[in-house]
Amino acid sequence: MATKQSRSAARLMMAPAVFLLLVWMLVPLAMTLWFSFRKFLPLRGGDLGFVGFDNYVRFISSSSFWPSVQTTLIVVGSVLLITLVLGVLLALLLDQPIWGQGIVRILVIAPFFVMPTVSALVWKNIFMDPVNGLFAHLWKFFGAEPVQWLSQASLPSIVMIVSWQWLPFATLILLTAIQSLDSEQLEAAEMDGAPVLRRFWHIIVPHLSRAITIVILIQTIFLLAVFAEIFVTTGGAFGTKTLTYLIYQRVLESQNVGLGSAGGVYAIILANILALFLMRIVGKNLDA
């Protein structure tokens, strides 16, 4: 890209892609903003004109709003915690030379390839079913009363399913990070008199900090939008209504596009607050 000519040629060739991406982002955003200021009830009269900030006020004053924000944060937070802790441990385990390493690694990554809807249905019907589920059988085997997972422990169940899906991602990223650790550093620490646990805290964890940051940032983006897992299991009942799910209900179940769009704008704001917060805490790990 040295000459003026090649630079402008490059710009020209990149233009369609940039244009497409911009349109892809700006049109839905503009439409969401547009609808959020209108009273739009598709089945009850259609577009009924501007209502100012009415939708925003109604969405936030609804009794489901704050609980849904709380649920969203709980889901994101717990899944992050579980996938990071188990991910580090699994990565450490997979880094050990074992027989059949290749196959084991593929098995560990497998859940990531299963569609969210499918994996949620598998969990719901095969594991968590209170009558025929594997967990129910396990509980009965030990003489305990089977847990009605999705109604009695609904939020932990969702967290469990989503964690299962995202654990492979965290493990994979952390495993590659662990593999890049210079073994001489660990040996030096061993010579310096650091036992296993302190080697872990003083050498391995700091080495992983950048990978952990990436896992946190990427997972947060996707976890804020968790939908399918809730849709096919609890349908938003039993306190599993996240902000994303609430917006879905407002738009499609109550057929109120305006109200849902206002919720969408709140979701954007929440995501940005969270992103700002995360960049403050962990973003510094990405420098140098």
Partner: protein
């Protein structure tokens, strides 16, 4: 005290025997260099002493105490690695303090010891930097600092200078020698560079394929190499060898003569040869000569000698300093 004794120590990886059983004595305060070509097992031997590898047989004694199954941290040894193995996320201060912190030393003592070590190694102004912001030589000094604060029984160095450029390597060689003079602690040093071995060691251990070829002081090895391998490995430029009729004259299968023990003359001598490339170093000139019936040899001449490519010269070996070897490559004395 830091006397290290190896008795019949052996190491195998699976079915491959890397080090056949060997005996070795490292006396207290000695600077011992393990030298040999790459893959000769010298680093493995050092790691066995450090405890980073388990012995497959034999015993390792430190000050008469069997440490063969003692974990590395409890052997009282400190090691400097080839890659320095500094902790990249810690400042220089924290790097040097790490072993003390692990040993549970009081904070005030740590501070004092770290600052002392930094002073000795000229690191005082770099204490708050990260290893990534230091040059190769400074990192090397931090690695040494980290090992001296523990006041170990012995230091182990695993090719510590091989990542440095030539000038810096020369400086660090001196610094490590001086450190040894001031600390008087046992040091075991691994290198593939015979110059490092010759200049620093009290005692050189020449290894090949896991076997000790010879142990001795630098000059001892230079003057009386036990076999062809040691003769060819020690000394720079390497010793010249000749066999056949030339060697028969000396009642040997092979004879060896060092470049510095060859006399060059334009008028006359024992052998006649054709001059090839001359390497002018200023102080010396290394002349490569092709001698009929002997082969290609290197001779050391004065710095101001002027010989052209293809000139004819006469060479005479210093007969008292010709090394003679038998059929098995062992020295005849």
């Amino acid at each position: 005290m830091g006397r290290i004794t190896l008795q019949q120590v052996a190491k195998s990886f699976g079915t491959t025997e890397v080090i056949p059983p060997l005996d070795l004595e490292v006396n207290d305060g000695e600077f011992v260099v393990f030298v040999g070509p790459s893959g000769c097992g010298k680093s493995t031997l050092l790691r066995l002493i450090a405890g980073l590898e388990d012995v497959s047989g034999g015993t390792i004694l430190i000050d008469g105490e069997d440490v063969s199954n003692t974990p590395p941290a409890k052997r009282g040894l400190a090691m400097v690695f080839q890659s320095y193995a500094l902790y990249p996320h810690m400042s220089v201060r924290k790097n040097i303090a790490f072993p003390l912190k692990m040993a549970g030393v009081a904070k005030a003592d740590i501070k004092k010891k770290v600052e002392n070590a930094a002073q000795v190694l000229n690191l005082t102004e770099y204490l708050d930097r990260r290893p990534g912001q230091l040059s190769g030589g400074q990192r090397q000094r931090v690695a040494i600092g980290r090992s001296i604060v523990r006041e170990p029984e012995a230091f182990l160095f695993d090719e510590p200078l091989s990542n440095l450029d030539a000038a810096l390597r020369g400086n660090m060689r001196l610094e490590i020698s001086e450190l040894h003079q001031s600390l008087k602690t046992t040091m075991v040093y691994v290198t593939h560079d015979q110059v490092e071995a010759m200049t620093m060691a009290d005692k050189i251990v020449v290894l090949q394929k896991g076997v000790i070829e010879q142990v001795g002081s630098p000059l001892d090895l230079y003057r009386n190499p036990a076999n062809l391998f040691v003769a060819g490995f020690i000394g720079s430029p390497a010793m010249n060898f000749a066999s056949g009729a030339t060697a028969q004259e000396f009642d040997a299968t092979t004879i060896g003569f060092r470049p510095e023990h060859l006399k060059l003359s334009p008028e006359g001598g024992d052998w006649t040869g054709t001059v090839g490339v001359s390497e002018h170093l200023g102080s010396d000139t290394f002349v490569h000569v092709d001698i009929e019936g002997v082969g290609k040899v290197t001779a050391r001449a004065d710095g101001d000698i002027s010989l052209g490519y293809g000139d004819t010269v006469f060479l005479t070996p210093d007969r008292a300093r010709v090394h003679r070897f038998d059929v098995h490559g062992l020295a005849l004395r």
